[in-house]
């Protein structure tokens, strides 16, 4: 058993003595029994036989007794250990209570450090560690990405969104125990001002079954029911059931209407279930049934379907099948179907399927939020480290103050082991107190961070809090032990005689002062690094905010009507509604100009079969396209897109007039390098009454405008006149440019739209600033959190520097007094005291800048148009740190010059 453990010799010896004791006890017993029997007249051999008879089986009893005594011994040992720990704990607790001010300082430092980590842990746990809730064996569920090689970027690109046909190809793969499709859509319940917007997730009917999720009420979709024209059924999320339906049991069987006829509610999903995503879902709808109603049927057509990449596919690996094998099988199926597209250049070369984790942040297309979050986790650990260093410094100051007491206790023979144990335990207690405060910080602070910076993520699934609690306990114990071990070892290592001598002299040895100084130095370096990180993120955020998008987002808003049952509105009606709407919007007070288009940046894109004059085939870049925007007159003025040559789309470009096009700068350059594109032809499929692509003459060149991301690598786009194109079942948007008072204007705009036609159930209206906000999220997150942490680090470092100097001055009162008495000038005294502060600050700055200089380039992908060696950032941080160091040194310095020689000299 454990007797073989090396280094357990002491225990082995203890057990050996247990055995000896049993033998000795029994020996005594037999001796006395034999003696007594012999005194009664028995012979020795008779007496010995009788003694053995009376005793019973000696060998068995001896074995039993040894077993019992060994366990007695183990219990005793354990109890002694517990008692010693208990005594140490009591001592530690007493020592904490004795100095409340110091305790408060340390607890605050720990609370901030641990609080920062607890906050980050909560976020990391949700984003990176914990898969979405209520999924059986989530590790087996994989996201299927279509991957192919794009020659113009020279690398393979993974695309999460695929077409319905791609999804159907992969359903045939036997490596999966179910492949399901997911697509999210915004829908509205009710109409007009009272309408409620809901987040719907469209899913194939095997979605719940494959995930292994159980309904909280009712049932989920039956196999085989999801088909075009199939039963209109809905599953509510727990949240929707509680808020919209008051949590009533009889909700199952009721109907809900999004403007496409009633959907029967068949079940309720469990609490916190959001499917495969982390953001909120209000209800789940069958994907084919619903898509047929809200998107028309193009996604199902043989020719056009594969151009509609609108859903994500996931599969559960079948028993014993590895991800590699499943990917290989899916790739074969996918390649067979996509090869023609790849050869035509409509799709990347060598298409295949790769699998990725259900946790999006671990997949091939992890967003920058995930990367920033990981970085911030590192930063929060750094903050904790600074807090630990600071606490070590404070504890060290305290142990120095107590060294007379400690010296005496050491002289009295208390073991160093116990002394160190007590000091470390003290650190852990303090850290746990800090941890308790940290929980409050994590709760409130974390709440604010989540609400403002990651608003879309659903946090409450009843799991997060417990995990944060455990994390805080673990972090606190580790942090406490780490912070306390250095000062404890310092004190315990020292020679008893030295300590007593020193304690009496009231001086400070070189070692102790060196330790404290290096701790202060470490803090300074860490805070410089953090501040530089914060600075770089703030600069990036500033650049993102002021990024030239090619259009002017400030004062710009979009409006889109939700028309019930889109197919019931004839194309003529639609055109009339849009034209009338545009006229009305122009007259709304506060609106400068208004226009309309079939697509809008960041929200929808559209491509058409396209041929360009004198160009054999148009290679698609990975950002896709060329994208077509069918726009109304005044579009460029309203959006704020500059026309670089020629003209924009005007009111004269109507049906029947010559077909015209405006081309984006990059696309013009891409098709006809160094040639004036104006007057050339684009042959575009589709158009009023046209079966063959007809020539649209290019009449103008427009500045590139961001369409998919804040900054698209290669953006190919062109503009056609809305009224020269067919308008079947297409989404349409109005745009308005407003001056001042946007909220009120937007409200009037929405009312105007709702009044247009009673088939309009609801109108989406949003400023572009609001639309862009989530896209700036990664930098907002980085700048805010880095800034907070950097500030925290700065404060902590300033306190550390201050405490070193203040302690110095207090220690050297006598010396300073003497020097004052001997006529030393104020300047000389100041120099004496502050030389250390200056040394620490300058060294810390240089080292910190060097570390930041070396590390920053690794974070370059996270920065936006900001050099990792941005001189302004480094300069500002240097100035800030100097100012803070000066402030921290000012009070001790002032005190040093005010030393009254009479008082200090008389003190001894």
């Amino acid at each position: 058993m454990s007797g073989k453990l090396p280094g357990d010799a002491r225990r082995f010896m203890r057990l050996e003595s247990v055995d000896r004791d049993v033998d000795e006890e029994l020996g005594f017993h037999f001796e006395r029994t034999v003696e007594e029997l012999m005194s009664e007249g028995h012979s020795r051999s008779e007496a010995e036989a009788e003694a053995r008879r009376r005793f019973g089986d000696v060998r068995r009893y001896r074995r039993d007794l040894r077993t019992i005594d060994r366990s007695t011994e183990r219990r005793r040992h354990w109890r002694d250990g517990m008692n010693a720990t208990g005594r140490m704990a009591t001592e530690a607790a007493r020592s904490i209570v004795r100095s409340p001010a110091l305790t408060l300082g340390i607890v605050v430092a720990f609370a901030l450090g641990i609080g920062a980590n607890a906050t980050m842990f909560g976020i990391i746990d949700r984003l990176l560690l914990r898969p979405p809730s209520h999924i059986t064996d989530p590790g087996e569920v994989q996201h299927l990405y279509a991957e192919s090689f794009w020659s113009n970027v020279g690398k393979r690109v993974a695309e999460g969104s695929i077409s319905y046909q791609d999804f159907e190809d992969m359903k045939a793969a036997k490596s999966f125990d179910g492949v399901f499709a997911v697509s999210t859509r915004e829908l509205t319940i009710g109409r007009g001002e009272n309408a409620v917007k809901v987040e719907a997730t469209l899913v194939s009917d095997n979605f719940f079954r494959t995930l292994g999720t159980r309904a909280a009420a009712g049932r989920f979709f039956e196999p085989g029911t999801d088909a075009v024209g199939g039963p209109q059924e809905a599953v509510l999320s727990w949240g929707t059931w509680r808020t919209l339906y008051g949590g009533e049991r009889d909700v199952v069987g009721k109907t809900v209407d999004f403007g496409y006829g009633p959907y029967t509610i068949v079940g309720v999903a469990p609490r916190g279930f959001t499917g495969v995503q982390l953001s909120n879902v209000d209800l789940f709808l069958p994907i084919q049934v619903t898509a047929a109603q809200i998107m028309g049927m193009e996604w199902r057509s043989e020719e056009e379907g594969r151009n509609w990449q609108w859903l994500d596919a996931y599969g559960r690996l079948a028993d014993g099948v590895t991800a590699e094998r499943a990917a290989a099988e899916a790739s074969v199926l996918h390649r067979a179907a996509r090869l023609d597209d790849a050869e035509r250049g409509d799709w990347g070369a060598d298409p295949g399927i790769i699998l990725g984790s259900l946790i999006e942040a671990e997949g091939p297309n992890a967003g920058s939020e995930a990367v920033v979050t990981k970085l911030l986790a590192g930063v929060s650990l750094l903050v904790l480290l600074i807090a630990c260093v600071n606490v070590a410094n404070l504890l060290f100051a305290r142990t120095l103050r107590q060294r007379r007491e400690i010296a005496v206790r050491l002289a009295l023979g208390i073991s160093r082991y116990r002394l160190v144990g007590q000091l470390v335990l003290e650190g852990v207690f303090l850290a746990l107190l800090g941890g308790a405060a940290a929980l409050a910080i994590a709760h409130w602070g974390g709440g604010i961070v989540r609400e403002t910076l990651l608003p879309d993520v659903v946090w409450d699934d009843g799991m997060g809090d417990r995990r944060v609690l455990i994390a805080v306990a673990v972090i606190a114990i580790l942090a406490g032990a780490i912070a306390a071990i250095v000062p404890a070892m310092q004190v315990a290592r020292r020679d008893v005689a030295d300590t007593i001598r020193e304690a009496t002299a009231g001086g400070l040895t070189r070692t102790t002062s060196r330790v404290r100084t290096s701790l202060a130095l470490a803090q300074t370096v860490l805070s410089v690094v953090l501040l530089i990180g914060a600075g770089l993120f703030v600069r990036s955020l500033d650049n993102v905010r002021h990024l030239d998008l090619g259009f002017d987002p400030s004062g710009l808003a979009w409006i889109s009507p939700r028309i019930s049952n889109a197919t019931a509105v004839s194309p003529e009606d639609r055109t009339r509604i849009f034209n009338e709407g545009m006229e009305r919007l122009r007259r709304v007070p506060g609106v400068q100009s208004a226009s309309a288009a079939a697509t809008m940046p960041f929200r929808s894109r559209r491509t058409r079969r396209l041929r360009a004059e004198g160009v054999d085939s148009i290679k698609r870049p990975p950002s896709g396209g060329p994208y077509v925007h069918e726009v109304a007159p005044d579009y460029f003025e309203t959006m704020g897109i500059a026309i670089l040559a020629g003209r924009g789309i005007t009111a004269q470009d109507v049906n029947g007039a010559p077909r015209v096009a405006v081309i984006g700068k990059t696309m013009a350059e891409y098709l006809w390098p160094r040639t004036n594109p104006i007057g050339k032809c684009l042959y575009v499929s589709g158009g009023e009454g046209l079966s063959q692509p007809a020539c649209s003459t290019i009449v103008g060149v427009a500045e590139d405008a961001s369409n998919i991301e804040l900054r698209d690598d290669v953006i190919l786009q062109y503009y056609l006149s809305l009224s020269q194109m067919d308008r079947n079942g297409r989404l349409d948007y109005w745009f308005v440019r407003m001056n001042g008072e946007e909220a009120g204007t937007l409200q009037s705009v929405r009312r105007e739209v709702l009044a247009l036609d009673d088939r309009i159930r609801y109108a989406d209206a949003e400023t572009f600033e609001a639309l862009l906000q989530p896209k700036r999220q990664a930098w907002e997150l980085g700048a805010t959190m880095f800034g907070m942490f950097g500030l925290l680090a700065l404060v902590v470092a300033a306190i550390g520097l201050y405490s070193v100097l203040a302690f110095d001055v207090a220690q050297r009162m006598r010396e300073l007094g003497l020097r004052t008495a001997l006529g030393a000038s104020t300047g000389r005294l100041l120099r004496m005291v502050l030389s250390r502060a200056i040394g620490v600050t300058i060294t810390g700055l240089v080292l910190g800048c060097a570390v930041a200089f070396a590390l920053a380039p690794r974070f370059e992908p996270l920065l936006f148009d900001t050099s990792p060696h941005d001189p302004a950032t480094f300069g500002i941080v240097t100035l800030t740190l100097l100012a803070v160091a000066f402030a921290a040194a000012a009070i001790p310095g002032w005190r040093a010059t005010r030393v009254d020689p009479n008082v200090t000299l008389r003190a001894d």
Binding site: G56, R60, D64, L65
Partner: protein, 118 residues
Amino acid sequence: MAARTRAEAMNLLQGTLDLLVLKALKAGPGHGYAVARWVRETTEGTLEVEEGALYTSLHRLERRGLLESEWGFSENNRRAKYYALTARGERELAAEATAWTRYAEAVFKVLRSSEVLS
């Protein structure tokens, strides 16, 4: 031999043995040999118990914290292990003794009863 068989028939329970040992040490500390002799003499051989079992009981009681032990010197100056009741041992003895007496009295009453089932 007859006495031994009866003792076995009475199926002397561990608890009873513990009670005897505790009672033996009630008067003051003693070593294992003294406890064994006290039990033999007090019961006048009615309960013949293997002495090994008595030692097992002593050690078990020590493990339970009802007894504590200490090495000392016996009357003729030999090293012997002395057992003494702890405070918990005293309490245990009192409680067990009461329970046993009540139990024995009840059985006794039944055996003495002259009433018959009607």
